[in-house]
Amino acid sequence: MAKLNELTIVEAARALRAREVSVRDLWDACIKAIEEKNPELNAYLEVFAADDAAIAAAQKRIDSEGENAPLLCGIPLAIKDNILIEGKVASAASKMLENYRATYDATVISKLKAQGALFLGRTNMDEFAMGSSTEHSAFGRTLNPIDTSRVPGGSSGGSASAVAAHLALAALGSDTGGSIRQPAALTGLVGLKPTYGAVSRSGLIAMGSSLDQIGPLTKTVEDARILYEAIRGKDILDATTISDGLYETRKLPQSLRIGVPRHLLAEGVSADVLAAFDATLAKLTEAGHTLIDIELPTSSHALAAYYIIMPAEVSTNLARLDGIRYGHAARGTTLLDDYIDSRTEGFGEETRRRILLGTFVLSSGYIDAYYRKADAARAVLRREYDKAFESCDVIAFPTTLSPAFKFGEKSDPLSMYLEDIFTVTANLTGMPAISVPMGTVAREGTVLPIGMHFTAPHQAEHILFAAGSAVQVAQ
């Protein structure tokens, strides 16, 4: 058997039920790996002390319920630092919330606790989930375990690095424009952004409220499905959560019709990434799936729309952080000084940049040209996707233009923003999307993973898992 920390959720759940390992063994194996590797990788900002009561309760449940125990019972997970666990610091990797202790559990955490899952620690991220490299954390960058001179992606880079280096069996991240899927692609993992409203956002530190979703980063598609099933569901604490069957139910077809928007791949994508994408598609057609040419013309404007809507929501959401009720509290002469000094000291550069952009696109005189126009483009984009899904079951493209880049390589903001060019569409349309490993490319003699990205219609996660499994089998 592989080392315990290297197991998948499915493998660990089986081993626990077969009494080959104990919950404590599994926890200790992850902690040992964290002690060895985290000082270099900086995947975790904080590692929690073992919760002896929770470990004992999980073991007892497996012993007494056996096969009926939840699959996640006793499984150690890593949690992104913007998801609240009662009593623990949740800083969103910002100085602003460095001292903030969560006063309640996020709904996803309550659900995982009810299943008996364990939490190893909180993982590093770009501050307030703004970035694509985890270089924007206030607490140092996280390294990509596959090549430590490269970024793990972002903003859920700590979660991705932790799972890829086997410092956790799986992790939760959050995805506003690609923050689960892009790091998954850059570290060789599976990452899922669920349908908007599928998973409660209660207890997730808000970035872009019309875009944010919590989702899993895992070693396999099946693990992603298990974690997704555990956290999803309507929640009275988040009015945007949706009931099953709100959208038309789609049956899982025997073979998939895979829509490919060739016009989007004509420029920008690295030649070897495109070759790996085509090779994967060829394997899928050999396996009986069919390819369909589709057109999504407004996709070329998606990133522009995203970089208007997202900062608008960021500037609104982050307005609540004023140094008064919680978080970083600087004190000046007047109350206004208290606000300004707290925010100036608390927010990092990228956060300030996006707050100012958001303030600009919402300001009188510009709101029609920017925010309202972007909102209209978003509706058009969604309509194009709905239309495309009349002739196909999933839409495929590479998750990123190229593999993991080097630290400092994308120092101007716009080049960093372009990392999200393919992934943002799923957030704008609210549709679910997954990234699964699709082979490797070489850079400077290092073999690096890349990802295949599938989008499905609203509430058709089951089709995404089928598509992801098909790619996994074809590798």
Partner: protein, 98 residues
């Protein structure tokens, strides 16, 4: 295109102070970012109701439930205050008496 004065004004609106060097940097970056997002102006989108055609807006209602016990969360929330007097959050006086 953006001027340093405009960016300074945005910062004031957003309750953030920018150092002079940062102001210059942000201003030039804004030009590049705004030039990029400006491409949105070329999207032809229908206006008003036609835009939302086929996408029904849903109102989300729920029954009022039993409220939690009064004061159940007071201590947890007050523990986060930077300055407190009893259960109250203490802030600077904003109205000065002559």
């Amino acid at each position: 295109m953006a001027t340093t004065e405009e960016v300074k004004k945005l910062a004031a609106l957003a309750r953030i102070k920018l150092a002079d060097a940062e102001l210059e940097k942000f201003t030039s970056e804004f030009d590049a970012i705004l030039a990029y997002v400006d491409t949105i102006s070329t999207v032809e989108a229908p206006q008003g109701e036609a835009l939302r055609r086929g996408q029904a807006l849903r109102n989300v209602m729920r029954e009022d439930g039993a409220p939690h016990a009064q004061g159940a969360f007071t201590e947890k929330l007050a523990a986060q205050f930077s300055a407190r007097e009893g259960d109250a959050l203490s802030v600077k006086q904003i109205i000065q008496h002559g």
